[in-house]
Structure formats: C-alpha cells, structure tokens
C-alpha cells in the first residue's frame, strides 16, 4: 500500500497569476485531503476561490466550481486533453531507432477531436448501455461469489476482497484473455494500484508495454479466430475508413486498462464506506431495493472521485482568471459535484435528490465506461445488501485514503459479525 507522500515543493507563481486566485493545495498530499478527501473539498469551497492556482506539483489550476468544470470540459479547443501535445509525442517517437516496437498510448483519452472522435468511435458500441446490459448477469454472479467468499470471516478488507477483483475479472472476461495469462495481468494491475499516487512516467511506460505484451497473442489470435469478446469485435471495425491495425488495438488495450480499473475500484469503495457508515440507509435500501439505482447516483455525486488533467491550448480569460497557453489545469470533478451553487446542502447525502452529476465528466470525453461502472456499482451494492447482514466500519481500523487523479480509500475494513 502507498506511503504518506510528502508535500511537493512549491514553485514560483507565474506573472499572469494573481495573489487573489492563488491557494496552496497539494492534490496528492494535502494532509486534510488524504485524511478525508470529500470533507476537505467542502472546506475548499468555503476557503478557496472557485478557480484557483496552486504552486504544488509543478503549479497548476484547479477548477473547483461546477460551472468551471462543466464549461472547461465542453470547450475542448481551449482545454486540450493532450497534456503533452501529440506533435511533441510524435516528434519524440520519431527519434527512436528504426524498427522500434510500437509505443502504445492511451488513445483516445489523451487526444483532441477530430482524432479523438475517430478513435473513440469503434469503442462506443462495445461500451453502450445495450452491450453492457448483456453482461449484467455475469457481473452479478462474480460479485456474489466475491461477497460470499469474504462473508464467513465476519470482517474483511473490502478493497482487496471485492472492489478490486470485480472490475478486473469483468474486464478480463470482456477481453477474453486466456486463464493462464490472467495471473500475469492481475500482477500488472496490482503494480498499477500500488503506484497509484506515484507518477513516474518511466514506470507507467513500462507497464503499458507489459500490458500489450500480455495481450499480444490474444490480439493476434482473435484477428483470425473471432469470438464473442471486445477484441474480436474491435478487429471488425474501422478507423476513419481504414481497417483496424495492431497499433490501434494496442492503444485500445492500454486506454481501457489505464482508465477502466482503478477508477471504478475507488467508486465502489467510496460508496461501500458510506453504506457502512449509514445503517439507516442500508435498512431503507434493503426494504426497497428499487431505490438502489438512485442511491448509486447520489453516491457518485457525493463522492465523485476522478480528476482529469487538461492543458490550456491558447491564452484565455476563464471565469475571471487569466490563463496562458501551456498552463496545466485539473478538472476537479469531486469539487464540481459538491458545489452549493449547484446543489442545495451539497454535504448532505439525499436519496430523494433528483441527482444529476458530472462524476463521469462532461463533453466529448465523457467516461466511455460509465455504463459499465454504473452496472458494477449497482450490482455490488445490491448483492452486498442482499447477502450480508448490516455491515459497519471496523471500529479498530481507520480508513486510509489516497489523493491524486483518482481519489479513494487504500483500505476499507468492514465488519458484520
């Protein structure tokens, strides 16, 4: 598990940033934030400007208000997803010796339209509500098995017992990876999870190469022998009228790995923590399980957990601040969904709230896996409530959190004995 991370050194404030919009907040290591992330966000809303610049982690903007997040997410020309511009990436790659292996990139998450639109298109159908609905029964079966397996002990560390293995197994099933490679894959997932708040680009690169190495045989096999899985389906699609190639397939593998696993792990765990802390909500949902999907939406709002990065593409005046091309920006979605200008009493979890949130982002980069995540979240809560007696936080264990781009508990001990 991750160690407490020291505060990153503060950098000097650039000339275009005023004192009034500066607020010192380390999104990876702020002490109050890693102690209780969403309480600290409510505190930020009281004490920090709605759009602020922090000198930590190299210096970057934080979009705290709902409106700033909504507007920036939808203005892809000003707020680029190419944190490193693709032209620069391509120039770097061109300097490698001829015959170097394809370097997989998590496209389309880190590219802008029109390239983004082109490379996202083949994935849409595989992750559409209809395609995901077809997986619901098998997801329920997996969730049931994991919950039954931890039940007899009367207590368990929920993240490693359920929240982590469930999405990994669903993912492996969707991809049709052979059983013998699943262990290797889980090992890479484990390394990925353990380094969640350490951003060493070299290690990230090595993991991307490992993922494609594990998947290569399966990728090649499905091209010739299609089966009922995503890989086979993707081979049969085109990109911009051209047949799918191995390079694009490798990019899809790494994007789905990078974006699709730790995110939902944290989402599941944050919701489970809330349920464990609110036995009255458990009783209400057990009495009427049809309320669970509304409960899930309000969990997503109350405990939004992803912080996608952007790069300012051109000088701009945005929500009263001056931003310069090249500035780094964080879409602080957990802040957006706790904004009192948008939600009355945002700190209150209200099952009856007609919740509309942007936990899955807004604009064209809307989380591709949102429909899958929703099913996984709903099914886990349904099965927990159906299979376990009233559960609570283990009294002798403190919940530990990590900050960063995906916020959530490192460990979550639950008890029901």
């Amino acid at each position: 598990m991750t160690q407490a991370r020291p505060l990153s050194p503060a950098v000097a404030r650039p000339a275009h940033v005023t004192d009034a919009v500066t607020y010192d907040f380390d999104m990876f290591a702020d002490e109050a934030y890693v102690k209780n992330p969403h309480d600290r966000i409510l505190d930020l809303h009281k004490n920090a400007p709605p759009v602020f610049w922090t000198p930590r982690n190299g210096g970057h903007w934080m979009l705290l208000s709902h409106k700033a997040n909504f507007d920036a997410s939808r203005d892809v020309e000003t707020f680029s997803s190419e944190v490193i511009p693709q032209a620069q990436v391509q120039a770097m790659l061109a300097q490698r010796p001829p015959g170097s292996p394809h370097f997989p990139q998590p496209w389309p998450i880190n590219i802008d339209p029109p390239l983004h639109t082109m490379h996202r298109a083949p994935l849409q159908k595989a992750f559409s509500p209809k395609a995901i609905m077809a997986l619901k029964d098998s997801i329920r079966e997996l969730a049931g098995e994991l919950i039954d397996a931890m039940k007899p002990a009367g207590t368990a560390e929920f993240v490693s017992a359920v929240a982590e293995p469930l999405p990994v197994q669903v993912f492996l099933k969707m991809f049709g990876l052979p059983v013998e490679r699943q262990q290797e894959y889980r090992q890479v997932v484990k390394e990925h999870m353990e380094s969640i708040s350490v951003s060493d680009p070299r290690a990230v690169m090595m993991r991307m190469l490992k993922i494609t190495a594990i998947m290569r045989d399966t990728l090649l096999d499905r091209k010739e022998n299609p089966k009922d899985d995503i890989i086979s389906m993707l081979w049969q699609t085109e990109i911009d009228g051209k047949p799918m190639g191995m390079d694009e397939m490798e990019n899809f593998c790494v994007v789905l790995f990078a974006a699709g696993l730790d995110t939902v792990v944290n989402g599941i765990s944050l919701g489970a923590r809330h349920l464990a802390d609110h036995p009255e909500l458990q009783r209400e949902l057990r009495a009427d399980p049809t309320l669970i999907s509304a409960a899930t939406e309000e969990m997503l709002r109350r405990y939004t957990f992803t912080v996608p990065p952007r790069r300012v593409n051109k000088d701009t005046e945005f929500h009263g601040v001056t931003m310069k091309a090249g500035d780094k920006v964080m879409l602080f979605l957990p802040g957006a969904d706790l904004d009192s200008r948008e939600y009355a009493n945002p700190e209150q979890y209200q099952l009856k709230r007609e919740t509309v949130h942007i936990a899955f982002g807004a604009g064209p980069h809307r989380c591709l896996g949102s429909h899958l995540a929703r099913v996984e979240l709903n099914v886990v809560y349904e099965e927990m409530l159906a299979r376990l007696p009233e559960f609570r936080l283990a009294s002798d264990k403190e919940v530990r959190y990590h900050g960063g781009h995906v916020v959530g508990p490192d460990e979550l001990w639950l008890s029901w004995n």
């Binding site: 939808r74 298109a121 849409q124 159908k125 992750f127 559409s128 509500p129 209809k130 007609e354 509309v356 949130h357 942007i358 899955f360 807004a362 604009g363 064209p364 809307r366 949102s370 429909h371």
Partner: protein, 70 residues
Amino acid sequence: MKIRIEKASCVGNARCAAVAPQLFPLDDDGYIAVSEIDVPPGQEQLARRGARACPERIIVVEEDAPDGTP
C-alpha cells in the same frame, strides 16, 4: 408537448433513456437517435424528468400553451 435535443452535443450519457426508454430512443452506440420528440399525452412528467436528467443540459422541453394548443 415537444422535446428538442441538441443532438450534435449528445455525448452518450444515456440518462434520458434511463428515466424513459420509450420516449428517448438511442442509437447502437448509446447516443440519442432523434432531435425532436412529440410527447404523447400523459407522459409529460416523465419527459420532463428525462430532460432534467441530462448532464449536458441539451434537452429542452417546449410546454404547450395554457389553452392546450401545441
């Protein structure tokens, strides 16, 4: 009652269809398939809820005039 949707701005949240699948048809990718919907009588409340559910705020409800003319 009519519903107008800025179809080009749909990003596939499919929340409208989660509220009212019959009213809000989706294409195979899970994006809204139409830009205009005539709401059948009796389904106005459902249509309003479906419109409110859109995180992109691109669904507009056009209420009938108070005298009942569309």
